[in-house]
């Protein structure tokens, strides 16, 4: 065995016997580095004859290949072993709490307003708004509710001045007045918003939310009103059919006026809308009174149409099984978390209103 062969064997043994990554690196330097064994052998070639050169060069190359293979497999083996040991030590308790991620919530009333807007958008209504503070004229007089009329008793009004001329709107109907006064017919709007009555008990809060609807055009009649509300209620409760009943009633600003009840039943303590033989009053509506149109500079001989008012909080309670109206405004952390909606859960026409 030549020195060369001895040396090769030695390297092989070194490689085979080690399990240490530092030793592997040392061997690598010894064999393959610039001043390593292989290169030093190649340097010898210059002093050899052509024939010897050829043989020796091929020997070196062969040995290099051989060593390289052993080295690679050994290196992999050792690195794997090291990594495995490291991984073994890295075991953690994954049941420890994750980093907190806080996503907020949208209040059910806001969610329901978006749902409603979505439904009415589909049939061509646009959203209008008006101020929370109103004058007596827009809130009552223009809406055909005369001064000192018992109909005013139904509204326990908050006043901002002793003369009772400025007030917190008791309903969203003044938005009708504002919309008609600033534009030209046809009108097709909904107006959601805060409304105020000085009333506070189990089922009343001094502030609540209403949705006003108004559709005025040349030939809008009560058939359209019925169709519109029927469509809305069905879409809103996401049911195929709905039981609805129109009862004559009285509001100064509509004539004929109606209150609308929907059929429901209670099953397993849950309210089911659209079935059963119980009735629940959910909204007031009617054909806009000609006096209101006149007050709003719309000619009742040419134009007519309907208006309606719905309690938004009430709708939210029914749809999402919330029992207590007052809880809407109490800001209880648990309640907001439980009944609130994911901000990404935006009601849309194509995906559907609710998840």
């Amino acid at each position: 065995m030549s020195d060369f062969e001895k040396k090769i064997l030695e390297f092989k043994n070194r490689l085979n016997s080690t399990q240490d990554s530092k030793e592997i690196e040392a061997i690598r330097i010894d064999i393959f580095s610039k001043n390593g064994f292989i290169n030093s052998q190649f340097k010898k070639l210059g002093s050899l004859s052509e024939n010897e050169k050829k043989t020796f060069a091929s020997n070196i190359n062969k040995a290099k290949q051989e060593l390289l293979e052993i080295f690679r497999s050994k290196a992999t083996e050792v690195l794997d072993k090291d990594l495995n040991e490291k991984i073994k030590k890295e075991k953690i308790d994954v049941t420890l709490p994750e980093k907190e991620f806080k996503i907020g919530k949208i209040h059910p009333v806001s969610q329901v307003i978006d749902e409603i807007s979505c439904i009415f958008s589909e049939i061509g209504f646009s959203v209008e708004e008006g101020p929370d503070v109103e004058n007596d004229y827009n809130n009552f007089t223009a809406l055909n509710t005369p001064e000192d009329h018992p109909a005013k008793d139904m509204h326990d009004t908050f006043y901002l001045d002793e003369n009772m001329k400025t007030l917190l709107r008791t309903h969203t109907s003044p938005v009708q007045v504002r919309t008609m006064l600033k534009g030209k017919p046809p009108f097709k709007i909904i107006a959601p918003g805060r409304t105020y009555r000085s009333d506070s008990d189990q089922t009343h809060t001094p502030m609540f939310h209403q949705l006003e609807g108004l559709h005025i055009d040349k030939n809008i009649n009560m058939g359209h009103l019925k169709g519109c509300l029927n469509y809305f209620i069905k879409e809103f409760f996401e049911v195929d059919k709905i039981k609805m009943r129109f009862r004559p009633s009285h509001f100064p600003f509509t004539e004929p006026s109606a209150e609308v009840d929907i059929g429901y039943k209670i099953e397993n303590n849950k309210i089911i809308i659209g079935e059963g033989d119980k009735w629940l009053e959910i909204l007031g509506c009617g054909m806009v009174h000609p006096n209101v149109l006149k007050n709003c500079k719309v000619d009742p001989k040419i134009y007519q149409g309907f208006a309606f008012g719905i309690g938004i909080d009430r709708l939210a309670m029914l749809k999402y099984g919330i029992n207590d109206l007052r809880s809407f405004f109490e800001c209880d952390y648990r309640w907001l978390n439980y009944y609130g909606f994911d901000p990404l859960d935006v009601p849309t026409n194509y995906r559907g209103l609710s998840k």
Partner: protein, 794 residues
């Protein structure tokens, strides 16, 4: 309005059942609110159980009992009976009930210093026997009946309670209800009975309606009845009075009440012998006073309508009678009044005096002016029948003529309004059954409105009459068209919507709080604004409109803290008010964040909320609303409710619009709490003014280089001032400036700090070489040094 089926039968011949009638009433606009078994005089007495008979603290022979009457809470009742003991089942009489033995009306009273809510009864008190030793001792059978009426309620007879809308005073009388039902094919309205009473004696009391400005009374009808024997009402009348929820008093009073509910015709009976000389209907003088039948003294203003005699005020016309001339059980001679008063004036007077009565309720809604004599006749008939006596001729003083309104009505209006074809004959039939008189005039109908319908003014009112009787279910529903010609939301509303969801997605829970708040808290946030007071607040701690969203948010944040929720982020989007005129309000998004420091939670130590968290939330939401960093600058002026050193404002680049504030709230208001506000109108205005079209995206693929600088600056120098100066050196080459360290302390003078920043330099056109980069770096250093007084740290 309450009535019973048998009362209805007086006016309506019908074969419909009570339940059919109830259903019909609902469908023609007379909403049935309640159907309850008829109460009689004894239904008040209920089975009760003494839970505990305690010794009365101030009287040896009395006991203070805790009594279970089937409600949630027990009541305290003082009882003197020797047999009152724990667990005894007995009979309880509530306050307001009348004890049969002595006709005494019970009231809540104090007995030897202890309040007694009602009474426990003996058999003799209930006229069951003469047994008066001790209270009734019921056997165990009654255990399950606690809370129920001892005498039971008569089965099958119900009181029907309607909620009558303010436009329908005619249905505040049973006859009006009967008329509506008959028009709905539910029977035939009976003709009123013709009075056969002979009116022989002379009406010798002078009555005059004075000509006053705004005289509320325009008709005053009356008659005198002499030699009556006022008595307890007969059973049928008592039952009707009880059905109304009233208490029978005497035949004369019960009859006037009966006629009021029967015909919607309020009457008043005076004791004739107590009237001095004559009756004058006149306006009151300021300061006049009288004692009314409700036992209260009223001092009147100027110009309230009073019925007076020579001695002074007898009663308030149309509202309440006076005690001085009231009838009593031994009254012999009476004057019966049936008058008409103006609705508005009645209402004004009653409102001023805060007085409510059944008569006032009717007059302010409108009583039929033509029912004056019918009302008198009806009452006279009953009084003579029950009390005997002789009656005078009727005297009717009238100062105003009432003419029935006539409406020229196009019957096609009905079809045009409801959208379903209704033929003219049906319209005519319904209207005439409701009491309208109709003459055809070509295509039109001349419709004369009956005097009992003050709510009918024009054609549309007639349309409503027709359709409510036909039934809304007959209207064919028309499917809505799915067509949109206008965008649903306007530019502002879109931003409202986006802002709401943007802030929620940063971990804030949306709340909705009152638009009003406690003035005391609001004062800390109103800055220069005036308090906007509510004249009649629901409670004294909700007495002003809010000038800021913070007061309520902080209030509820603290409530949640008390509930044990330490980490919280709440927000609201809604109005705050800048004045009390309509429209003086702005839309604010306000978020508030509080972190509960858990001393022992090492896992959370690196996650503490500071002002830069709240700034991050705000800036990110602004970015989502497309107000980018280059569109605004940060300034230090903030309202006084923020910590003056740890808060900032976000203003438009030109400095004209405040888009928002952020910072720590002032520690005097609440500690360790951060918040932000966004002023939505300002934001939208800014966006409208600076409408930018999104440029198409270009980016450079040439080599970019970072250069780090550390400048030594005065302590009050703001990082923004440095970055702005650097940015302005070359907007094309300087792509990004990142502050990576702020240092104060060792090796630095005490009035200085060091700000370290990394500037990213890149050209869009070429790869910059070393000398380009050196040049720009030098320029950065020299410009910053020159403009801000900073020194490069070496």
């Amino acid at each position: 309005m309450k009535f019973t089926k048998d009362w209805l039968d007086v006016h309506l011949k019908t074969n419909k059942s009570e339940s059919q009638i109830i259903q019909k009433l609902n469908s023609i606009g007379l909403e049935v609110e309640k159907v309850e078994p008829v109460k009689n005089e004894l239904s008040d007495f209920i089975v009760a159980k003494i839970i505990k008979a305690n010794k009365h603290p101030n009287a040896d022979r009395l006991k203070l009992c805790d009594v279970d009457i089937g409600k949630k809470d027990t009541l305290k009742v003082v009882c003197g009976a020797p047999n009152a003991r724990d667990g005894l089942l007995t009979i309880y009489a509530p306050p307001g009930s009348v004890i049969p033995k002595n006709s005494m009306k019970l009231e809540v009273s104090k007995i030897r210093g202890e309040t007694s809510y009602g009474m426990l009864c003996s058999e003799s008190e209930l006229k069951l026997s003469n047994e008066s030793e001790g209270i009734i001792d019921l056997n165990d059978k009654y255990k399950t009946k606690i809370g129920k009426s001892f005498f039971g309620e008569k089965k099958g007879k119900n009181v029907i309670e309607l909620s009558i809308t303010p436009n329908r005073p005619d249905c505040l009388g049973v006859r009006g209800i009967a008329r509506d039902l008959s028009a709905s094919n539910f029977g035939k309205l009976k003709e009123p009975r013709k009075s056969k009473v002979k009116k022989n004696i002379k009406h010798n009391l002078k009555i005059k309606i004075e000509k006053n400005k705004n005289q509320a009374c325009s008709i005053f009808g009356s008659c005198i009845i002499k030699n009556i024997k006022n008595t307890e009402s007969p059973g049928w009348l008592k039952n009707r009075i009880l059905a109304l929820g009233l208490r029978p008093i005497s035949a004369v009073v019960d009859i006037t009440n009966y006629v009021m509910f029967d015909l919607n015709r309020p009457l008043h009976a005076y004791d004739l012998d107590k009237i001095k000389n004559k009756i004058t209907v006149r306006n009151s003088k300021k300061g006049e006073s009288f004692k009314a039948l409700d036992n209260k003294n009223y001092t009147l203003d100027k110009d309230m309508c009073v019925i007076a005699d020579d001695e002074g005020v007898l009663g308030l016309g149309g509202i309440i009678g006076g005690e001085r001339s009231g009838t009593e059980i031994h009254t012999k001679n009476i004057l019966l009044e049936s008058a008409y008063f103006d609705p508005t004036l009645i209402r004004k007077t009653a409102k001023k005096l805060d007085l409510n009565s059944d008569a006032k309720f009717r007059f302010e809604r409108g009583v039929d002016p033509q029912s004056v004599t019918a009302g008198l006749e009806s009452a006279v008939e009953l009084i003579l029948e029950i009390c005997g006596g002789e009656v005078s001729k009727l005297d009717v003083q009238q100062t105003k003529k009432f003419k029935d309104l006539e409406i020229n009505f196009d019957p096609k209006m009905v079809t045009k309004t409801v959208g379903t074809n209704i033929n003219a004959n049906e319209i005519k039939k319904i209207l005439s059954n409701l009491g309208f008189t109709i003459k055809s005039k070509g295509k039109f109908l001349n419709v004369k409105v009956p005097s009992w319908r003050p709510d009918i003014f024009g054609e549309i009112d007639l349309v409503e009459e027709v359709i409510r009787i036909i039934g809304f279910e007959k209207i064919k529903s028309i499917e809505p068209e799915k067509k949109r010609t206008k965008p649903t939301l306007n530019f502002f509303q879109k931003h409202f919507h986006l802002a709401q969801r943007s802030v929620a997605s940063k971990g804030y829970l949306e709340t909705i709080t009152w638009s009003f708040t406690d003035e005391k808290i609001n004062n800390k946030f109103k800055e220069k604004l005036e308090s906007i007071k509510i004249v009649n607040p629901i409670s004294s701690d909700l007495n002003v409109l809010r000038n800021s969203l913070y007061p309520n948010l902080i209030f509820y944040l603290e409530k949640n803290l008390n509930r044990g929720f330490g980490d919280q982020a709440l927000f609201e989007i809604g109005p705050t008010f800048t004045g009390k005129k309509p429209g003086q309000q702005i839309t604010v998004v306000c978020g508030i964040k509080k972190q509960f420091i858990e001393e022992d939670n090492n896992l959370k130590k690196n996650d503490l909320v500071d002002v830069f968290h709240i700034k991050k939330d705000l800036v990110q939401s602004l970015t989502e609303l497309e107000i980018r960093k280059e569109d605004f600058k940060v300034e230090e002026n903030t309202p006084s409710y923020y910590h003056p050193g740890i808060s900032g404002s976000i203003v438009s680049k030109d400095g004209n619009l405040v888009l928002g504030y952020f910072g720590a709230l002032h520690p005097k208001i609440i500690s360790n709490t951060f918040g932000f506000e966004i002023f939505l109108e300002n934001l939208v205005e800014y966006k409208v003014k600076n409408k930018k079209i999104k440029e198409s995206l270009t980016f450079s693929d040439y080599q970019k280089s970072d250069r780090d600088f550390a400048f030594l600056v005065n302590k009050d120098t703001r990082a923004q001032d440095l970055t702005e100066v650097i940015q302005n050196i070359d907007k094309n080459l300087i792509k990004e400036i990142k502050i990576f360290d702020v240092y104060e302390g060792e090796n630095i003078p005490s009035d200085k700090k060091s700000i370290a920043l990394k500037v990213t330099i890149q050209s869009d056109h070429k790869t910059l070489n070393e000398s380009d980069l050196t040049n720009i770096s030098k320029k950065i250093v020299s410009t910053v040094e020159e403009k801000t007084g900073a020194k490069l740290r070496s």
